[in-house]
């Protein structure tokens, strides 16, 4: 599951688990303002893990880390302990940065509680885990803040206490690296500020190097790298297979997000349905990986094993059936009861803010970079568009895109094995790829791949505004519906 192995000579700074948001190994650069992904294992100070940690993946991650980084003492702690080291490292960063320091204090206070998920499985009734939030409860406001009455009347005329709450960077439903600082007026969000702590200005081009956005799947990096590389020969099956993997990872990313939303909603049935849909996608990906290398999309001659072909086709069929059931589940009134009409971003607002990707398409604006690709056009690709721009529209759009992605993967897989010629990568200055959170653009500069993700900062601002005025639980659902990233990608 972890896309790193002891066989590789140089370790990747980012460990990406396809069905979860991210596992990142990170360190800190004292000269920088914030956390940085590290390229040197000696600088590793901690690991970001999904919250809650999938129990089945804990042991493989621990084994992988012990192989990759035998010299890093932090790596030898139990996985549940690793997240806590982030608080200490962030405190170090904060010595030169008051804002980060304040935040580190919040995190540190909770890290000492030692939850570590050790009681979450015993006491909860749903998959969300009632208590097991990895020791990061995140209600960072202290008692004095809680008791302070500001004297400002609320919407209903009552004088309410103002409460400051800080979420992240290591807690569900926030993705790793994202911090939300919220001021509550009673239980209503009066103010919200979102910050992405992690930065990724450029990617060094090398085999097995980090992806452009470490929160996004690894195949995207390979696609961008190969597309931006000059002089790459046209390819046949490799191009189609690359598309298969990209679309599978798109569906996986959307479903992983949907599962985190289901956990936030405390909806066990939806958690289970997403798990059922993700499993065959991962199996198909593993089947394809056996053909094209463990961590990269094949761009050369592809050795096709009939057994693997059949396995991938079968798994994609299973995924298609599971997604159809999932789509029916999401189309019902139960999801709408929590999401409809909440966090509305109108078409005009989306256009003015410069939103991109699924968030913009849910508001009825914005395109899809895949529309320009002749290969996608050959498969009959039509961008999915939504209406309403609320949390429900964003959710349904991602589910519909997952369904479409699996169908595209099935179509391109058929082309790959029928020997239909594919197109070589275009030699453009900027190469654009439609990612699960919006377009990713890449340009080669020297031995680095400059990457840019337009619309990333805009979505943080829009999401902050959308949460204001909502009750706490609804505000979290709205924030989650934007599928935010903790990474600032680009210059």
């Amino acid at each position: 599951m972890v896309l790193a192995s002891a066989a590789r000579s140089t370790a990747s700074p980012a460990l990406i688990v396809p069905d979860e948001q991210s596992w990142l190994v990170w360190g800190f650069d004292p000269a920088s303002d914030g956390l940085e992904p590290v390229l040197d294992w000696g600088a590793v100070r901690g690991v970001l893990v999904p919250d809650p940690m999938p129990a089945v993946l804990g042991a493989p991650l621990a084994a992988c880390l012990s192989e990759l980084a035998p010299t890093a003492p932090v790596m030898h702690r139990p996985v549940s302990e690793l997240a806590r080291s982030v608080a200490a490292a962030e405190e170090d960063v904060g010595h030169g940065n008051d804002r980060a320091h304040d935040h580190a204090n919040h995190r540190h206070g909770h890290g000492d509680h030692g939850g570590g998920g050790d009681h979450g499985d015993g006491g909860d009734h749903g998959d969300g885990g009632d208590h097991g939030d990895g020791g990061d409860h995140g209600d960072g406001g202290d008692h004095e803040d809680m008791m302070a009455i500001t004297g400002e009347p609320s919407g209903d005329g009552l004088v309410m206490e103002s409460i400051d709450v800080s979420l992240g960077p290591l807690m569900s439903p926030m993705v790793a690296g994202l911090v939300a600082e919220v001021t509550l007026d009673g239980d209503v969000v009066a103010q919200c500020t979102l910050r992405a702590l992690l930065r990724q200005p450029a990617v060094r081009l090398k085999p097995g190097g980090p992806p452009p956005d470490p929160l996004e799947p690894r195949a995207w990096a390979a696609v961008l790298a190969s597309a931006a590389a000059a002089g790459e020969p046209p390819d046949t099956a490799g191009v189609w297979l690359r598309m298969v993997r990209v679309e599978i990872e798109r569906a996986t990313s959307h479903l992983a997000w949907l599962r985190s939303l289901a956990r936030l909603l405390g909806w066990g049935e939806l958690v289970k349905a997403t798990r059922v849909a993700v499993a065959p996608l991962l199996a198909a990906q593993a089947s394809l990986a056996r053909q094209g290398g463990a961590d990269r999309v094949s761009v050369g001659a592809v050795a096709i094993e009939p057994g693997d072909e059949l396995a991938a086709v079968r798994e994609l069929e299973l995924a298609s059936e599971a997604l159809a059931r999932l789509q029916r589940l999401c189309a019902g009134r139960r999801l709408a009861s929590r999401t409809a009409g909440r966090g509305v971003v109108g078409a005009a607002e989306a256009r003015a803010a410069g939103l991109t990707g699924p968030v913009a398409r849910a508001s009825g604006v914005g395109g899809d970079a895949r529309s320009e690709d002749p290969l996608y056009r050959e498969l009959g690709f039509e961008p999915v568009s939504g209406q309403g721009g609320d949390a429900l529209a964003r959710t349904l759009l991602r589910v519909a895109e997952s369904v479409a992605a699996v169908e595209l993967a099935r179509g391109s897989l058929a082309h790959a094995y029928s020997g239909r010629p594919g197109r070589g990568d275009a030699q453009a200055e900027w190469v654009t790829l439609e990612g699960p959170r919006g377009p990713l653009r890449a340009r080669r500069v020297g031995d680095c791949l400059r990457v840019d993700a337009p619309g990333r900062e805009a979505v943080l601002r829009v999401a902050s505004r959308a949460a204001v005025g909502l009750e706490w639980g609804s505000a979290l659902v709205v924030l989650a519906s934007f599928d935010l990233s903790g990474w600032q990608v680009g210059p």
């Binding site: 009681h119 969300g128 209600d139 809680m146 405390g266 009750e471 706490w472």
Partner: protein, 302 residues
Amino acid sequence: MSYFTPLAVVGLALAAAPGVWLLEQLVAGQRPAPGRALRDLRIMLGSPLQRPESCDSALFHLAPSLLVLASVVALATVPWAPGFRGIDLQAGALLFVAALAYVTPAMVMAGWGAGRPLAVLGGFRWVALMLAYAMPLAMVITSVAAPAGSLRPTDIVRVQHAVPMAVAQPLALALWLPAVTAVCFLPPFDLPQAGGELFGGVFAEYRGLDLALVALAQRVLLLAVSGMTAALFLAGWEWPLLPPAVWMGLKTAAVAWLLLWAGRRFPRVAVDRALSLAWRVANPLSMLAIVYAGLLTLLFYR
């Protein structure tokens, strides 16, 4: 045995924990792993108690005990078989509701004592929820007591020998089930702790024995409300062929399964929607249920 001894009630309460845990695992579609559960319990009990930074640590540590006390008293009022119950009061059904009422101060104490904003928010969510659902609970108890002419649970069971109250008064049952789910802070009404929203809410700071007591109390509460639902609506032990206690056990398990299953089927109810449903729908309908119960009693039970 004509009466439960207090020891027997406590024994039943302790037996509730593994029983309900087993049901939870089955409803969640997971294979029960007792070894892992015991290991988790051992770790939980071995953890030191959390000492909140706030000045209300006494309230904080008293809350789990109060929660257990309320749930055990509620359990004691449930009639399990003829002559087989903990407390046999004339107003036993009211005592059941009164015992459940003590869950509210326990929750507020837990949230306030923790001294964390989201824990306090969970406590206040609970107060709002219980204010809204207390009336339907009391009204439903009155509705099912009317045909029996008694608030003694055993009398209410006996009056159902022909027709269970679930059939005679389906509206009352429809009002009762969400209300008792809320009382047990079970999904989709798990608003005070709300795993994904409040990150543990009122119980987020509990560790060690405190946390074990909370987990025990919730399971005892579920057993108590399931047992009382079986007694008040499903004719308790009053069905043929099987021994009375077996019938009661089966019906209790079925109700508990239903409540847990519903928790997985629905997303957590939004606070505003839960309150709106309670005040605008459940409360007026509970008045209607009373009127209906009165008519039913006059026409068929006199």
